[in-house]
């Protein structure tokens, strides 16, 4: 696992207060109670700080799963 993926997983664990084993591809906004509005924006804030990026509003809206986040961050120049 590269550093960026490790940081990405840690961000999920911190934002949603979940176990390490839960931070994976199956973690989606609509299937997890922990992924609420506050958790969502906490995650965005943590990721912005961790990678030094700034999400567009559209990207924040589209960010609805673990995998989608990887896709969005990749498009912003973060390599996984």
């Amino acid at each position: 696992m590269n550093d960026n993926m490790s940081v990405y997983k840690k961000s999920f664990i911190e934002a949603f207060d979940i176990e390490e084993s839960e931070a994976n591809s199956s973690f989606r906004m609509n299937s997890k109670d922990e992924w609420d509005s506050i958790g969502h924006m906490t995650l965005i804030a943590i990721l912005e700080e961790a990678y030094g990026v700034s999400f567009e509003t559209s990207s924040i809206i589209d960010f609805d799963s673990f995998d989608k986040g990887v896709e969005i961050l990749s498009s912003m120049g973060v390599s996984f």
Binding site: D17, N30, D33, D36, S37, I38, G39, M41, T42, I44, A45, E48, E49, S54, F55, E56, T57, S58, I60, I61
Partner: protein, 489 residues
């Protein structure tokens, strides 16, 4: 004109009968004419307002798209938003503003007051304003292209099934459907017809049947005991769910019969295990709208958790203000904001409490307690939502606390009798019977995904018995027709 009126049913039947016979290139004009005709039947004087709003949004969206510079796009968006929000503020909030100015003048001892304006709230104004505002923001963000076909756009702004009380649609979902040709599909139309019938039953039998009982509590709060107030809040919650979800069922059903998919608005919200989950199941199109167009922009760039908490509270205050021009709606919104913040702040504490009480070893009991607690909190907030004033809400809340502080076996017995007195003898039997029907339907939806699919797998005689039961119930047990609760917004 109400969705459940004979007139609406007759006119919609004619529209449906003619719709698929009309060449595709003229269907938009047919639906647009029908949408304006429906609105004119309610109050033709507001048609120019809809035409003006539609025209302004159409032009503004194209201008936003044409601009190369972000600043210019922003200016056009701000101008468009101001044009859209001005009628909403004028019709909905003018008297709220005047009454508060008068109160402030009275507080400083001056003897001058502004006269309330004589204004009628245009039907559906909060819904179509938000839909069009969302469209302008989506064009600004580049999520949708500005629609160039004026007729199609006018239909998007006034499509009759969802124009008055939602679902609040996104341009990305609805516009292309209005453009594409829809073909008659028997099974789809039949399933939508069943959904409409189920909506009729929820509205005319359950929601309208509860109006008198709920009114007894909320219209004379000083005569209500604590038990009556608690029952009133619970009954109102059932009433408003049956009413609003029925309105959405009928809207989705009518649009579906015309080959157009509208968004779902409810997912059994009273079975939510947390307030956050409640808001992902109740009035979903408004919740998503508030999240995407108010909450996320408010949070953007905010790093501290307290800033996110403030954004949540501000978003729920906006939700309260959207619902109505009154302090009780703002308090209702504020309460929900506080619920969410408190729930987030106490996450770890609650997790530890669950482990300490060993509730994690009994997940079914834990789940039941979470649902019961969420439903109680929602009912409590709705005292403000339904009460005729903030003062009335506090009278009812006080009665509840007094009752709970003097709880005894005798008071519970008297309380049950008080609650019974909210109904007539026949009403209470009808209510409990149809409430059981509603819960059974919801149980089937949870277990099989769709109650109708489950029914579809049964023998023909059983299916037809169910359809006859729904139709007969509507005919025999309908209460006097009431407007849909959300039509007032």
């Amino acid at each position: 004109m109400n969705f459940t009126s004979i007139r609406y049913v007759a006119i919609f039947s004619l529209i449906f009968a003619a719709y698929y016979k009309i060449p595709h290139k003229w269907r938009w004009a047919f639906l647009l004419g029908a949408s304006y005709a429906f609105y004119a039947l309610w109050n033709w004087k507001f048609l120019p307002l809809i035409w003006g709003t539609t025209f302004t949004s159409y032009i503004t969206a194209i201008q936003i798209e044409k601009q190369g510079q972000r600043k210019l796009k922003q200016r056009f968006l701000a101008a468009g938003a101001a044009f859209l929000l001005a009628p909403l503020f004028l019709f909905k909030y003018t008297n709220f503003f005047i009454s508060n100015v008068n109160r402030a003048i009275g507080l400083i001892g001056l003897d001058a007051s502004l006269r309330p304006a004589s204004l009628i709230l245009p039907l559906g104004i909060s819904f179509y304003t938000f839909q069009l505002l969302g469209y302008l923001i989506d064009v600004y963000r580049g999520r949708v292209k500005a629609e160039r076909h004026y007729g199609i756009f006018s239909l998007f702004a006034s499509f009759f099934p969802q124009f008055i009380a939602g679902p609040i649609e996104r341009a990305g979902k609805l516009l292309h459907q209005l453009r594409e040709e829809a073909f008659f599909d028997y099974s789809r139309s039949a399933s939508m017809l069943k959904r409409i019938a189920w909506g009729f039953l929820k509205k005319t039998v359950i929601a309208d049947g509860l109006v008198q009982s709920v009114n007894k509590v909320f219209n004379t709060p000083s005569l209500s005991t604590g038990f009556m107030a608690m029952a009133g809040a619970v009954l109102f919650s059932i009433q408003i769910y049956a009413d609003f979800s029925a309105c959405s069922d009928i809207a989705i059903g009518c649009a579906g019969m015309l080959g157009i998919n509208l968004s779902e608005n409810f997912r059994q919200p009273h079975f939510a295990a947390s307030i956050s989950e409640f808001w992902s199941r109740w009035h979903m199109t408004l919740s998503n709208w508030l999240r995407d167009y108010i909450y996320i922009p408010l949070c953007k760039g905010k790093k501290k958790r307290w800033q996110i908490y403030l954004a949540i509270i501000a978003t729920f205050l906006a939700s309260g203000f959207w619902h109505g021009a009154g302090w009780r709606y703002l308090i209702w919104g504020f309460i929900h904001g506080i619920y969410l913040v408190a729930s987030n702040m106490t996450k770890k504490l609650r997790k530890n409490a669950v482990a300490f009480l060993r509730l994690d070893k009994a997940p079914k009991l834990h789940g039941f307690l979470q649902i019961a607690m969420t439903f109680s909190l929602v009912c409590f907030s709705r005292i403000f939502f339904r009460a005729n004033s903030v003062e009335d809400a506090f009278v009812l809340i006080k009665a509840i606390f007094v009752q709970l502080s003097t709880l005894s076996l005798n008071s519970v017995y008297v309380g049950v009798v008080d609650i019974w007195m909210l109904f007539s003898n026949s009403d209470i039997v009808i209510f409990f019977f149809f409430f059981a029907v509603l819960e059974s339907f919801q149980y089937l939806e949870r277990k099989y995904g769709s109650a109708w699919s489950w029914l579809g797998g049964k023998k023909a005689i059983f299916r037809f018995a169910a359809y006859i039961f729904i139709a007969a119930s509507i005919i025999l047990f309908s209460s006097p027709s009431q407007s849909f609760f959300y039509n007032q917004f």
